[in-house]
């Protein structure tokens, strides 16, 4: 059969010539889709605490999937349907090891998106790097996701705890001179990073630090210590259930400082649901945030999310978990769009590092070749007359020594069909 041999020789010759030719004349290589990318679909994976102690975050996964379903119904991205595989790790890092490996090795996903939890995701950072799997938009505020030299494929999403703490500290330095500022925090990296940020923004250490561990819900000793010390402002780095505990306990001890809570524990809907009849204790609570507040149905983004949830979700109300989940999904669609039809791992990373993605966030992302941190700041919020609203300007800073500066660009409006325009 001479024709195939001749064709083969031609191909071989072309390849030889291409290999030897100088690189200022790049010959177009045929596009080889990476693992997880096919003609009509792109597979993404995520690990989420659907059961176990962190199961109150379980709606994040549902929201991500609902948003991707919405995009798929409108043709997907570059003609590909987005398939999201959700695996439960029960907030147990050993299980995260197992399910993430299943996602990569058996389900052959292209990237991991929105992996949730600090201890859980820490377990798989190195594995994802070794397997060269893009690790996008980790749903945790730890600073570990911003290490571009060490983990080139990992990107954060949330404003990290230190950055957020700096903004709170800055606010306190400006507004609360003369107050005795104390801190009540979870006794782990979340708590410590947040309080470190507060002290950096404030310029001085806090007057008293008290902490808690999640296995003991009785926080009366700590609250009474703060009361005795005369704290007038208490900064909280707490999970929602412990925000509720400290508010209740303080009220029971007739201790009424100004509470300022990290966004991780201050979602009005979530904490309000836990407090039940004691919901009024949230009055006056100050916090920060960088996404639209879930209890504002008139916000165009919340309205969009509610429509999508009604059609593709569980028909419930939009809460903070839904806002986070859909925002992560929105950003994912944006980066997939920018990476192009002939998407590659390296190409995706470069696309993200170009930054400038506008969406529901109130502040910009810090993505660049030297930073893989997500949102770079936030805005202060306060609960007044049972409503949580933002006040003042948005601020941006970083986890390092950059100052806290105002960010004055107006928030973006969602596109009419809810799908980002490339």
């Amino acid at each position: 059969m001479r024709a195939p041999i001749r064709a083969a020789a031609l191909v071989a010759a072309t390849a030889l010539v291409a290999a030897c030719s100088p690189t200022n004349q790049p010959s177009p290589e045929p596009y080889v889709p990476p693992r997880g990318v096919a003609e009509t679909e792109i597979r993404l994976g995520t690990h989420q605490p659907l059961t176990g102690p962190a199961s109150s975050y379980s709606r994040v996964a549902l929201a991500m999937k609902a948003y991707f379903d919405h995009v798929n119904a409108h043709g997907g991205v570059h003609g590909r349907q987005i398939v999201l595989l959700i695996k439960d790790d029960g907030y147990n890092p050993a299980t995260t090891q197992t399910v993430v490996r299943e996602l990569v090795e058996q389900d052959e996903v292209f990237a991991i998106v929105g992996g949730l939890g600090t201890p859980t995701h820490s377990a798989v950072l190195d594995y994802l790097k070794e397997e060269q799997v893009p690790d996008l938009f980790v749903a945790s505020g730890a600073g570990s996701w911003n290490q571009p030299a060490r983990y080139p494929g990992t990107f954060g999403f949330q404003t990290d705890y230190t950055t957020e703490g700096k903004i709170v500290g800055h606010y306190l330095a400006e507004e609360s001179a003369g107050e005795t500022v104390c801190a009540f925090h979870q006794d782990d990296d979340f708590g410590r990073e947040f309080v470190a940020g507060v002290e950096a923004g404030l310029g001085t250490p806090v007057a008293l630090r008290q902490s808690y561990i999640t296995s003991n819900t009785n926080v009366a000793p700590q609250v009474q210590a703060m009361q005795s010390a005369g704290c007038t402002v208490v900064v909280l780095a707490t999970l929602p259930s412990f925000t509720a505990q400290v508010l209740r306990t303080a009220d029971q001890l007739s201790f009424r400082p100004q509470f300022i809570a990290s966004t991780a524990g201050s979602d009005y809907a979530t904490v309000g649901a836990i407090l039940g009849v004691d919901k009024a204790l949230l009055e006056g609570l100050i916090s920060t945030g960088y996404l639209p507040i879930a209890t504002h149905p008139d916000d165009p983004w919340i309205a969009l999310f509610q429509r999508i949830l009604d059609e593709y979700g569980d028909g419930g109300e939009v809460d903070n978990n839904v806002v986070v989940g859909m925002s992560i999904a929105y950003l994912t669609v944006q980066v997939l769009q920018r990476a192009g039809r002939e998407i590659t791992v390296d190409g995706l990373i470069t696309a993200i590092e170009e930054g400038e993605f506008r969406g529901p966030g109130l502040v910009p992302f810090a993505f660049s070749p030297t930073s893989h941190a997500g949102y770079s700041g936030g805005r202060m919020s306060k609960v007044t007359n049972g409503e949580q609203n933002y006040f003042g300007p948005a601020y941006v800073t970083d986890a390092g020594s950059a100052p806290v500066t105002e960010y004055t660009e107006p928030a973006a409006v969602p596109p009419p069909d809810g799908i980002p325009t490339p």
């Binding site: 199961s55 197992t98 490996r101 600090t118 594995y127 790097k129 080139p152 569980d314 791992v345």
Partner: protein, 388 residues
């Protein structure tokens, strides 16, 4: 050809079991290439469970804190490994990283640092086991269970309080990557599982030999009747302590293997859930049975995976899926535990073994031929010899 009626030596039996496990494991890494990590987890947990089954079944001491010793060994191995790496005992990395990821390829630890780290892990766990054991040998039954439970619960607090252990985010561990000819031919993941298999084979071989020999008889004598054992001259407290230390050492080795498999160490790997799952593995396989604990460990690792996949195949609406499918694997696992334990007296594998034992006895002849030593380890349902 062996003389009629002469039992095989404990050492030979141990070696045989070790080789079988090694061979079966290697085959599994090729037969189930998508499940390499699960196989590795089975092997690492098997090492810890093997020691626990000896402690619980042969020595009659119930421990609910085996994961605490796994953590001790894991952190000791991790710190040793990192210290050796920092001291410069490295070699150039094998090829593999490309593109954006290639820029971060750093030297890898020298291969000999791995056994050193693993041994350090086992040794430190054994030392802690000896310390705790000094107190524990005086305790019985549920009191020992309570003390070991409390021990297992301090893992996360200790990592939070002591500097340098990385807290809840744990530590990244510079474990050696497989050297090039082996790594590229076989695959890094597979090499790690094989290393774990070799360790497990050795541990099983040694334990089988010891249990079927004099040490095992001493353990069982001290377990069954302390007063009689003391009268015969057996130092009961020391025997119990030895079993405790051995169990802790194997747990430490298992923990170190898990660190090697993942390249990380986190307190979350070694919580109460892990201790309880190890105990489940022990009981399902029949407490004291080293062959059984292999099946038991396979069971506790495989059932969650299977139940999750069964539920994933059931296509439900998103709302239903979130609540139902999210919790269903847990319910199915619990149901499996209850049914398997209720259905077979003495554990699933002990029942099977009794069937085999009956047939073998009938073939060879009267029981007296085999002598007391052999019969002491077979046949009887292990749960008769219950820790108090």
């Amino acid at each position: 050809m062996r003389a009629f009626g002469q039992p095989t030596s404990p050492g030979a039996r141990g070696a045989a079991l070790g080789l079988v496990v090694l061979a079966a494991g290697v085959v599994a890494t090729y037969a189930l290439p998508g499940r390499l990590f699960a196989i590795g987890q089975v092997v690492a947990w098997l090492v810890a469970a093997a020691g626990l089954t000896i402690l619980v079944g042969q020595s009659g001491q119930l421990s609910l804190g085996q994961a605490g010793f796994m953590a001790t060994g894991a952190y000791a191995a991790a710190l040793t490994q990192n210290a050796l790496y920092a001291a410069g005992f490295t070699v150039s990395p094998p090829s593999g990283a490309s593109g954006r990821f290639g820029a971060s390829a750093a030297p890898t630890a020298a291969p000999w640092t791995l056994p050193v780290a693993l041994l350090a892990g086992a040794a430190v766990a054994a030392a802690v086991g000896a310390l705790l054991g000094l107190a524990a040998v005086r305790m019985r039954g549920a009191y020992l269970a309570g003390a070991t439970l409390a021990f297992g619960l301090i893992v996360t607090p200790v990592t939070a309080v002591v500097d340098g252990l990385g807290g809840e985010q744990g530590l990244r561990v510079h474990v050696p990557r497989a050297p090039d000819p082996l790594g590229t031919a076989v695959g890094e993941g597979r090499v790690r599982v094989w290393v774990a298999l070799v360790a497990a084979a050795l541990v099983l071989a040694v334990l089988v030999a010891a249990v079927r020999g004099r040490w095992g008889r001493t353990l069982r004598a001290a377990r069954d009747d302390e007063a009689a054992a003391a009268l015969v001259g057996i130092p009961v407290a020391r025997v119990r302590l030895a079993a405790f230390v051995v169990s802790a050492a194997t747990a430490g080795l298992g923990g170190g293997l898990y660190v090697y498999l993942t390249g990380t160490v986190l307190p979350g790997y070694f919580g109460l859930t892990t201790s309880l799952f190890l105990l489940v593995a022990v009981v399902i396989g029949g407490a004291g049975r080293l062959v059984g604990v292999i099946g038991g460990t396979l069971f506790v690792v495989a059932v969650p995976i299977v139940t999750t996949e069964v539920m994933a195949a059931v296509n439900a609406s998103p709302a239903l899926q979130a609540r139902l499918a999210g919790n269903a694997p847990l319910a199915l696992l619990g149901l499996c535990l209850v049914l398997v334990t209720l259905a077979r007296p003495g554990g699933r594998l002990a029942w099977l073994r009794r069937q085999v034992g009956v047939r073998r006895g009938a073939r060879v002849g009267s029981p007296g031929v085999h002598g007391p030593g052999r019969d002491g380890t077979g046949g009887k349902p292990p749960t008769r010899h219950v820790p108090e």
